[in-house]
């Protein structure tokens, strides 16, 4: 199949590639770019395991063709840690609050939470729950994911994180 030339930026690196028009972005990232952090949980746009950030939006990369990313700025989980290699506030929050178990939903969940906090730096529990409704987790039951995002918000905002008493 004839290939299309694309240029884009992934985690701050300029990338040039030849892709088939039908190649999905998730496969391009995972198989051609070896960025296997984003996962495939459903291939129908329901689970959010494949979530990446494209030009300031959360995007399910199983619903996007690689050619659509021409000229885009993409952030994947591999580009989320702090520049010095330490865990970002969100990554740390997920670990501290036990916001993950099998880890399969985690990269998508963190990317989604990242965008959520950009748009709403001090979300309520309800806003967080609505904000991550496009990302399914089979393991955690979400309570600790909510806490992880609250932890990260507090850390970013420099406010104290008070774990809601049960």
């Amino acid at each position: 199949m004839a290939k299309t030339h694309i240029t884009l930026s992934i985690n701050g690196n300029e990338v040039e590639a030849l892709v088939e028009p039908r190649t999905l972005l998730i496969h391009f990232l995972r198989e051609q770019q070896n960025l296997t952090g984003a996962h495939i949980g459903c291939d129908t746009g329901h689970c959010g395991a494949c979530t990446v950030e494209i030009d300031g939006m959360s995007v399910k990369s199983c619903m996007t063709f690689a050619v659509q990313a021409q000229g885009a700025h993409i952030t994947t989980i591999e580009g989320v840690a702090n520049p010095d290699g330490t865990l970002s506030a969100l990554q740390e929050g997920f670990r501290m609050m036990h916001g993950l178990q099998c880890g399969y939903c985690t990269p998508g969940m963190i990317l989604r939470a990242h965008r959520l906090l950009q748009e709403n730096p001090t979300p309520s529990e309800e806003e967080i729950r609505f904000g991550i409704a496009g990302n399914l987790c089979r393991c955690t039951g979400y309570v600790n994911i909510v806490k992880a995002i609250q932890y990260a918000a507090a850390k970013i905002n420099g406010t104290p994180f008070l774990e809601a008493a049960q």
Binding site: C102, Y104, I132, G141
Partner: protein, 809 residues
């Protein structure tokens, strides 16, 4: 008040540094998972790797007239197309199941369920493989199908399994009909019938635990790589039980077991889905052996939901006999078990209905009888333990719904009825009427704590007021209070009654202390998100006094890990956790001898103190485990072999019996059928608690899956055997919005026979959660004489209940 001495403070500091049992240690795994550096099967990329994809049947039951692969093979990029005709000469068109049946790998003469595997296309990339599946021309002749298990054994029912139609004795005894798989019974039939004949009160209800699916977020997948020169096969896959897979692969492929390297890397959730062996694994192996290149197979979500491992589908006629005062005298249960097209239940060999005989629950029911009939239908096979020990969710659902039905019939409070019938703390170890020996429990204490915490009496008052308001037409909302008090049976199991393919269900741990005092330990189990790398290290840290951060846990590589039966049925902590403690104690015993030599005292003069052996009465004379480790390699006592390591294969003397008290408060809008969980409180007793943070996480996750099953999740078929809703569009997986907030609590009743007293917890919340939700819904409608309302309780079905009861006028 005890005054803390400097020694106590020092000891507390040293204990804290270990991060051993009981502390909320943060997970080791999360460092890689939060950075997208997990290593899941589909992440694997090998030179020359090709991709396989299945051609699947559109029919539920059909004869295969012909398969023509010409067009598919002609597509550029297609390397091979396998059909049953290719596998048959190798004897691989069928594979053995764990339940003593055989299962088609690729359909030969007939297909028996929709989406059954018919051909396996191998191509150079996954897109071409997928294209080519549409170019395989299969001609089918449709046959009448059976979807309703109650029609399986009708005299004129079509015979589904022609391959075994003359075999009237199956793996579990005689078969009554060609579509019958087994009849399994236990208990005293005559005594039970006699009690029922004379009982003051009896209840009888058909309780359906409907067909659903574990659906971990990662589907099933494998990569097989056969080295033709060495004759060695490496198989990476989503395996909850990698050693068992290695043995199965050896048995069916004829490759010697030492030349098979099975590796289960990180697994994206299992919940029972990844215990069995699937056609995709076999076809990737055959493909790689034939082609000599690595072959990857990755299931898509529709394939996952419609082919690999359904759960439940138990139709349970449940009866209780009792006195007017609510003392339960006997239980009688008949189960019709829909196993689908092949009997591929992942149960221990001697247990065709799993541990369904735990169905007398937490109650002292002196007499009981249980019969289970398994039948074939034109549905996918499986019958796995979806986040539970084998068939325990079904059993607990039966008893916990039944006691509520009884309570309603005699007009007694459902909590009071439970308290009246509980096995008492002093009755443990308790021998149940259906054959189990419950190791320990204190049900009254747990139940009373739960009732107090939730404010049970107040809730009942509020409910009475709301019911009156509803009757007066002042509200359209119904309030339900759900209760469940479950007893699980986990940690299979003792070899006298538990094996898989003849292999006793022990598990194992190997611990090796390096000269500098750090540790690598390997187990026969396999984490799928439970955090084994974190928690096993905590057990070892406490046992051996080496900080958990200096201990690496490795699982899933069958070349290096000792043989074990894997992770499912909450068996990791009860069995491999025990093996870990026992192996550590072997090391400690040797360490004590070394320390005695170093300190020039007698072994008996030493005592263990957190991370060291010290001379009794002389606390300043000690050797730390780290010092002892060095000495073990550097200058061991004369006549002692150097090194400091041990392995243990732990054969559990009994199962463990975690239990818990759950309460749910629910508000249901009768006009829309929308049910809102106002509160959910879960008190668990899993014995000794290794990591409270992880326990709480397991409880949250299990409750969420219970919520899903009870409130909407279902694998449904239409009357022609089309599977409905095999995608996340229709199959209910709760999002953060629907999922209730979970409250957790605990009591601690250690297991008397487990080396550290732990019982396992990962599945309790699912087992206890499902009936709790269903009881809440049923309780909400109970005063309207709704009768038993079957699960799942989605809004549409609850709206229909309102219709049936004439509430929408």
């Amino acid at each position: 008040m005890n005054k803390q001495t400097p020694i106590d403070i020092d000891r507390a500091e040293r204990t804290e540094k270990l991060q051993g049992m009981g502390c909320k240690r943060k997970r080791v795994e999360d460092i890689r998972f939060t950075q997208g550096k997990g290593n899941y099967v589909d992440d694997l990329k090998l030179p020359g790797m090709v991709f396989g994809d299945f051609v699947r049947s559109p029919h539920a039951h059909a004869r295969i007239v012909s398969i023509d692969t010409t067009r598919a093979k002609a597509l550029p990029g297609v390397i091979a197309v396998l059909t049953a005709a290719d596998l048959k000469p190798l004897g691989l068109h069928y594979m053995p199941t764990l339940a003593g049946d055989v299962q088609a790998v690729l359909a030969e003469e007939k297909v028996l369920f929709q989406n059954q595997e018919v051909a396996f296309v191998i191509a150079k990339d996954r897109y071409i493989a997928s294209d080519a599946t549409e170019l395989v021309d299969v001609v089918y002749e449709a046959l009448p199908c059976i979807v309703d298990p109650f029609k399986s054994m009708l005299p004129d029912a079509p015979v589904l399994r022609e391959d075994i139609k003359d075999k009237m004795v199956g793996a579990h005894g005689p078969r009554k009909h060609p579509n019958h798989i087994f009849e399994w019974q236990i208990g005293d039939k005559d005594a039970t019938d006699a009690i029922f004949a004379n009982a003051e009160v009896t209840i009888k209800e058909m309780l359906v635990d409907h067909r659903t699916h574990p659906s971990p977020l990662e589907t099933c997948q494998s990569v097989a790589s056969f080295d033709k020169i060495k004759g060695e096969l490496t198989l990476w896959g989503t395996f909850q039980a990698p050693h068992v897979i290695r043995t199965v692969v050896s048995l069916i492929s004829g490759l010697p077991e030492h030349k098979i390297h099975v590796i289960a890397p990180d697994i994206g959730g299992g919940f029972g889905n990844k215990v069995g062996a699937y056609a995709g694994y076999v076809c990737s192996v055959v493909g790689s052996i034939v082609l000599g290149v690595p072959v990857k197979w990755v299931e898509d979500r529709m394939e996952n939901l419609s082919t690999t491992s359904f759960a439940r589908d138990y139709h349970m006629t449940t009866e209780l006999a009792a006195t007017k005062e609510g003392k339960i005298l006997a239980m009688r249960v008949h189960v019709l078990a829909d196993h689908g097209a092949f009997d591929a239940c992942a149960d221990p060999s001697k247990w065709p209905a799993g541990f369904m005989n735990i169905c007398t629950g937490s109650y002292d029911i002196p007499t009981a009888h249980l019969v289970v009939d398994g039948v074939y239908t034109n549905k996918a096979s499986g019958g796995v333990a979806y986040r539970c020990s084998f068939r325990v969710t079904e059993a607990v659902f039966a008893i916990e719904r039944a006691v509520e039905v009884l309570a309603q019939k005699i007009g007694m409070d459902a909590a009071e009825l439970r308290l009246k019938n509980f096995i008492k703390a002093e009755q443990f170890p308790y021998h149940s009427a259906l054959g189990w020996e419950y190791d320990s429990g204190d049900y009254h204490t747990a139940m009373k704590k739960a009732m107090d915490t939730i404010g049970y009496a107040e809730l009942r008052k509020e409910q009475a007021a709301k019911r009156a308001a509803f009757q007066r037409g002042e509200t359209r909302e119904l309030m339900g209070i759900g209760i469940s008090f479950f007893t699980e049976i986990v940690g299979a199991g003792p070899s006298k009654n538990c094996d898989i393919l003849g292999i006793a269900m022990f598990d194992s741990a190997e611990i090796r202390i390096h000269p500098t005092g750090s540790i690598i330990a390997r187990m026969g189990t396999k984490s799928q998100g439970q955090g084994h790398e974190t928690t096993y290290a905590q057990i070892i840290a406490t046992e051996l006094g080496i900080p958990a951060d200096d201990i690496m846990i490795e699982e899933g590589n069958t070349d290096t890990a000792p043989y074990g039966l894997g992770t499912y049925g909450s068996r990791s902590t009860p069995v491999a956790g025990a093996a870990t403690a026992v192996a550590a104690r072997k090391i400690k015993a040797k360490a004590q001898m070394i320390a005695a030599h170093m300190l020039e005292v007698h072994e008996g003069d030493l005592e263990w103190d957190v991370d060291r052996f010290r001379v009794k009465g002389l606390p300043e004379k000690f050797k730390t485990m780290k010092e002892i480790a060095w000495s073990a390699y550097n200058s061991p006592p004369p006549n002692m072999e150097p090194g400091l390591e041990a392995v243990n294969y732990y054969e559990p003397p009994n199962m463990t019996y975690p239990f818990g008290a759950y309460f749910c408060v629910m508000d249901i809008d009768v006009d829309t059928g929308v049910a809102k969980t106002r509160r959910f409180y879960a008190l668990d007793d899993c014995g000794t608690r290794i990591n409270p943070m992880i326990i709480e996480g397991q409880v949250h996750g299990g409750l969420t899956e219970a919520f899903a099953c009870a409130m909407g999740q279902e694998i449904r078929y239409d009357e022609t055997g089309n599977v409905m809703g095999a995608s996340f569009m229709d199959f209910f997986l709760p999002t953060a919005v629907e999922t209730p907030h979970w409250e957790t609590d605990f009591t601690v009743t250690p297991s008397p026979h487990h080396p550290i007293g732990a019982k396992g917890v990962g599945e309790s919340p699912h087992v206890g959660g499902v009936p709790c939700f269903s009881n809440a819904v049923n309780d909400a409608y109970a005063f309207l004489n709704a009768g038993h309302i079957q699960m799942p309780h989605d809004a549409w079905r609850l709206w229909k209940v309102g219709e049936r009861l004439g509430l929408h006028k």
